[in-house]
Symmetry: C2
């Protein structure tokens, strides 16, 4: 089998890899209907995160179960399933309160940019759809696997409730789906910070009521002007840099909520500064598993179209071009067809 392997900065190759098999009795092997490139894949791709040895890539997936280990009970071969980037048992104390990405037995699911994927802890990790979904819903269901689930967590962790004034920092796929999640949670106003016209259009389509193109101090000044000097109730930080985090915190009202869902790179909070902002801060690797059943239902009911974030679709063997297009911001997110 051939799959995507990162050898070093911007050296992404589609090469022969070992075909996944059942290793533990709790495993499943899934034949992927589609996979994609994540914004977080760009950190090592750009060399900001070191690659010490050739690394199979990809952690977003949906498809048909090919084989299961002897102890797997909740899914069976032939079913269409969706899972998240951390395998989780869904029974430990951390899972039980909805933090499956902090599962005591979590394992990172890696190597999904390939035709076949081994998923550990299949019973806890995978959610099957009632039937094999129609082909046109595959992009939407693939989005549920990570990027929608992450945007959803961002809105949840930022306490978006009916009527909330929401700011979304970051116009990548997660930020855009944070907009959608805020709309679904009843936000009264959704301000998307974006300077790219195609992303602005999609943000509007997903429910953004205002667009702010400025960044940094100017961006914060705009948010304050739009909110009568008060700031936003909820701010979703969907980038992961010091600049975007500062912008997020300073856009929030006193007593407001700031969520952050991308791995922070070089971000530091000064205790005293944070103290006087009075913000609530919550984030971490999105526990997508918590939301999978609900989000799958929303997609199958035709209520949401998260798959629109895929504005480039390529055959899997062109995965390197998929990375390049995202790196150069020619594409929001690349879907790959095995």
């Amino acid at each position: 089998m051939k799959g995507a392997v990162l050898y070093g900065p911007r050296d992404l190759r589609f090469v022969e890899r070992e075909t996944p098999t059942i290793v533990a009795p709790t495993d499943a092997v899934v034949r992927l209907a589609a996979t994609c490139v994540c914004g977080s894949d760009l950190w090592p791709y750009r060399g900001i995160q070191a690659t010490t040895q050739p690394a199979p890539m990809g952690h977003e997936y949906c498809g048909i179960v090919e084989e299961v280990g002897s102890s797997v009970r909740s899914v069976k071969p032939g079913q269409f399933v969706i899972g998240s980037f951390f395998a989780s048992d869904n029974t430990c104390p951390n899972c039980q309160i909805g933090y499956q990405t902090s599962c005591q037995h979590r394992e990172f699911v890696i190597g999904a940019q390939a035709p076949l994927l081994r998923v550990p802890l299949a019973d806890g990790t995978l959610v099957a759809t009632p039937e094999i979904p129609p082909a046109h819903l595959i992009p939407d269901l693939l989005a549920v696997s990570d990027v929608l689930g992450t945007g959803w967590f961002a809105a949840d962790a930022a306490n978006v409730t009916p009527g909330s004034v929401v700011v979304v920092v970051g116009d990548g796929a997660v930020g855009l789906l944070g907009v959608l999640a805020a709309r679904e949670r009843g936000a009264g106003r959704i301000i998307a910070m974006s300077r790219h016209s195609t992303r602005q259009r999609l943000a509007r389509d997903y429910g953004a009521t205002d667009i702010v193109t400025e960044r940094g101090d100017d961006g914060v000044a705009q948010i304050l002007e739009l909110t009568q000097g008060v700031g936003a109730d909820c701010v979703l930080e969907c980038v992961g840099t010091q600049e975007s985090m500062q912008q997020a915190i300073r856009s929030a009202r006193r007593g407001g909520y700031v969520s952050y869902v991308g791995v922070p790179h070089g971000v530091e909070f000064k205790g005293e500064e944070l103290f006087y902002t009075h913000v609530h801060l919550h984030g971490g690797p999105a526990p997508v598993r918590r939301y999978l059943p609900k989000l799958i239902d929303l997609v199958l009911d035709g209520r949401i179209n998260p798959g629109k974030v895929f504005d480039l679709t390529l055959p899997l063997e062109q995965v390197a071009e998929g990375y390049r297009a995202m790196d150069e911001r020619r594409a929001i997110k690349t879907l790959l067809r095995p």
Copy 2:
């Protein structure tokens, strides 16, 4: 009038000061029934916070209204009142959602270690009791003004709910009243971190079910052992140093809540570390005003005795000894009688 003035590190003098008068029509002047020394007063007293000019001290107070400005409507001379360390209008957008310490018109109330105190924004700041309270309740009502309100906010911001497993880091008066607040909010288990026997006793008296004497890594290990490796649902950080903050975050379960209510001194959070802990973080200057009516009722009903944290009572003119006793940890908290 004579009051406490800090001239430099450990140079606290009881000296002649200007007698407070009505300056703005929204002011009140209060004749204090009692005042006290705050843990936060020790930061400048110890020189950790610089004193650039002689500074009148004290911000905790209750007493009888002596005079009010022409626009004050909600309190009148002769009433017994309690207020918080930030004067607030209680009507601005920040006040309306309960963050009166971030009031758009807030003013720090300072100079309370004296017989008389000017309180700005009296209508928004002061809460009157239905009647003049009996003398034996004065310490309890004084505690409401800051230290109980702050402990209460710590428990609220850490999301203490019925059944919660709670850790309190810090055995100062705020931490001890955080224990009391956690008990009142129905915590299932309250672990107080303290190595001082008198403070341990008071913690037990206020509802602590367990005492952990270790600090740092050893303290965290103890918490994990007491919680089957999971960590606490809620952690109240009531110190404000890097060590105590680290201890607090590492004592929390994944997805747990950490509150911090003392001004952080030299505290920094690494974004990536915080991200993987999955904690909720919330703190800031406690919006005591939010809780005043409820806490006053609890005291007047005889349900709580927060005044027990005052284990040293001195006449006001001995205020310097009151500071020394707290600095040397001979006293938990000093009450001063003008």
